[in-house]
Amino acid sequence: MSLSLKKNAMPEQDPKVRARNFDEVALGYEAELAQAEASRCLNCKAAPCRKGCPVDVDIPAFIKHIKEGDMEAAIANIKEVNGLPAICGRVCPQEDQCEKFCVLTKRGEAVGIGRLERYAADYARQQGESAATAAAAAVGQKVAVIGSGPAGLSAAGELAKKGYAVTIFEALHLPGGVLMYGIPEFRLPKEIVQAEIDGLRQMGVTIEVNAVIGRTFTVDELIEEEGFDAVFIGTGAGLPHFMHIPGENFNGVYSANEFLTRCNLMKAYRFPDTGTPIHVGKKVAVVGGGNVAMDAARTALRLGAEEVHIVYRRSETELPARLEEIHHAKEEGIIFTLLTAPVEVQGNQEGWVTGLKCIRMELGEPDASGRRRPVEIPGSEFVLPTDTVIIAIGQGPNPLVQSTTKGLETNKKGNIVADPETGATSKPGVFAGGDIVTGAATVILAMGAGKKAAAAIDAYLSGKRAGQA
């Protein structure tokens, strides 16, 4: 068998066209391409790829099913461990996870595991497969899930399957967490997330939007007054970090969260048909090098910016974003201004940003994270003229739940302390998982944490039932 060393290319919208629309960039494999890609998999016994997947998808098995054309078996296989394959197939950083360990990387490119996972999930959705799975008989206990990001959604799904009465409390008016308000439509169509949410509703999960825990209810009230037997906290890492440099409050300076929320959640790209405005300007500087920065930069371009810079203090190899996003951003014309750190936002009399003063950096010795530390080059300051600055340098935990819950232990950074295997916190009956525990991480890790916590909640509540019997 002669194997291609390269992945089958993903059909994509032309960069020039897509840079001005919000439709999905990657169009997905057609059946033939999927077959061809699946045929590249050697079906390794040891399946090294599996150890790169945080939820241990049985990769050779599902790919084999695709190869054999048994799509039902393929999707069933994935769904055993991954409840959100259409999402993970699109947004997992595969090059750092499953595909990193694929044996084919020794000679060429890995099997397109993510692309095949997406193919199987999209196929199932197009066949009208509902995301709902039959729930077990009601067990008569209530679980509250706080937050509707991937951690909350997967915990809710698992618990509903086991027969618990689950209510999700979501602060915003739309469930989905970062999948809805953060990651843009052109990377993750909202109808896919919506389908998952509809599936949960069909399984009997109640979703209370506009419910801010810590305000509308506290965790203690959910347990003591509202009769919930256990609580899962999946509130994410939603608190935007700023740079603490002069001028950050000038008009035209956004956190990536605000910029993306205005666009995705509030649909500012349809303004003035919708009521929420957004400012883009002609020249945009996005500070940061992760997925959030790429999303903000590419969104700015689509909203009509003429020139968009990614300003990142390390070099290309250290960019934390998914490879595909970096590649797509470049194709679309995003300018990478690397080894550059902002020192001041400059503005005019009316309070509007006019430029970003930066300093050039060079890489020194490795720091605690193992990456080479960026060091300022004295005297290399320059001003990047810009009318919009978007800060995408990371997010921390929102303190609202922690500060209003008695006996909930947090760490120095304000994250909830939880057992990595069970999600159990210092407070009995209260579990947590996802970004609120780990700090900003990935969709699949959040999903996995929700799932593990669901299993632990089931064990905890079964124990309670047995105790009462």
Partner: protein
């Protein structure tokens, strides 16, 4: 779901809604606010909880029709519902027996001052209130404020009610007369709050103001509501909305509030034109 139980016109372009909102009413404290959305394409509009009735399960909102969203809100009637209503948001006012508290409300700001004055009174304070507006037609909540204040001063720009002048005038006079004031709470237009801050600053009278920067989520997630307070950036929706008036960067607040003025005009014009020929952007 979030039904309008009662609608009143308090003054030209100032309307009161009593909203059915049992969960919010149960928790609401003076100083807190809600965020509402009228319909699917609508923006998130923050409004202060002007009153709450825990037994009836209702909250009162008072709003001034200043732009497209608040004007549209004003066209809703009793029995209509809002699409979204979330709260109570923000930190409650710190209420205790301070001694003598002066509550200053300007224009629409009188509404949010009212539950604070009532709370301060109930906590045992001597409550001296000063309310003001451009003229007597747009002066709201006079009766309510009278009921919860030991003394009430009124100031109008044109002298059509109370003294002719600003709310700061009775405050200055009190201070000049040597009245011992333990706390001043001021809510109203930014310029008024800033002037109150300047009046009390030389005497170091603790002064609290309630800020209303542009907000999106109201949960601390976007940072759009940040204001500089004592050299530190605070998120008004979660760290506030009330802050120490002597530390607030009012100029910065004003500049940020003006960020979208051209866009707000564009939206208002767009809504006006689409609504004439059958509104496309809103279902009401």
């Amino acid at each position: 779901m979030y039904k309008i139980l009662l609608k009143q016109e308090l003054a030209p372009n100032v309307k009161l809604f009593k909203m059915q909102a049992p969960l919010i009413a149960k928790k609401a404290q003076p100083g807190q606010f809600v965020i509402l959305r009228i319909d699917e394409d609508g923006e998130r509009v923050p409004l202060t909880i002007a009153d709450f009735d825990r037994e009836e399960g209702s909250i009162t909102l008072i709003f001034q029709e200043v732009g497209a969203s608040t004007k549209l809100l004003g066209t809703l009637n009793e029995g209509d519902s809002l699409l979204d209503l979330v709260g109570p948001l923000g930190k409650p006012t710190h209420i205790e027996n301070f001694g003598t508290v002066v509550c200053v409300g300007g224009g629409i700001g009188i509404a949010p001052v009212y539950p604070i004055a009532r709370g301060m009174k109930a906590a045992g304070n001597e409550v001296i209130s000063i309310i003001g507006a451009r003229n007597k037609e747009i002066l709201i909540y006079e009766e309510e404020m009278t009921a919860v204040s030991d003394t009430l001063h009124i100031a109008t720009d044109d002298g059509s009610k109370g003294i002719k002048g600003f709310v700061t005038d009775p405050l200055k006079q009190m201070i000049a007369e040597g009245k011992k004031i333990d706390l001043v709470v001021a809510i109203g237009p930014v310029i008024m709050m800033r002037n109150v801050a300047e009046v009390t600053r030389p005497y170091q009278i603790p002064t609290v103001v309630s800020l209303n920067p542009i907000m999106v989520d109201g949960t601390g997630m976007c940072g759009g509501c940040r204001v500089s307070v004592g050299e530190e950036n605070k998120f008004a929706c979660v760290d506030g909305p009330e802050f120490d008036a002597h530390k607030v960067d009012f100029a910065g607040l004003v500049a940020r509030q003006r960020m979208y003025i051209p866009k707000e005009k564009q939206y208002a014009e767009h809504c006006a034109s689409t609504r004439e020929g059958g509104c496309k952007c809103h279902s009401h």
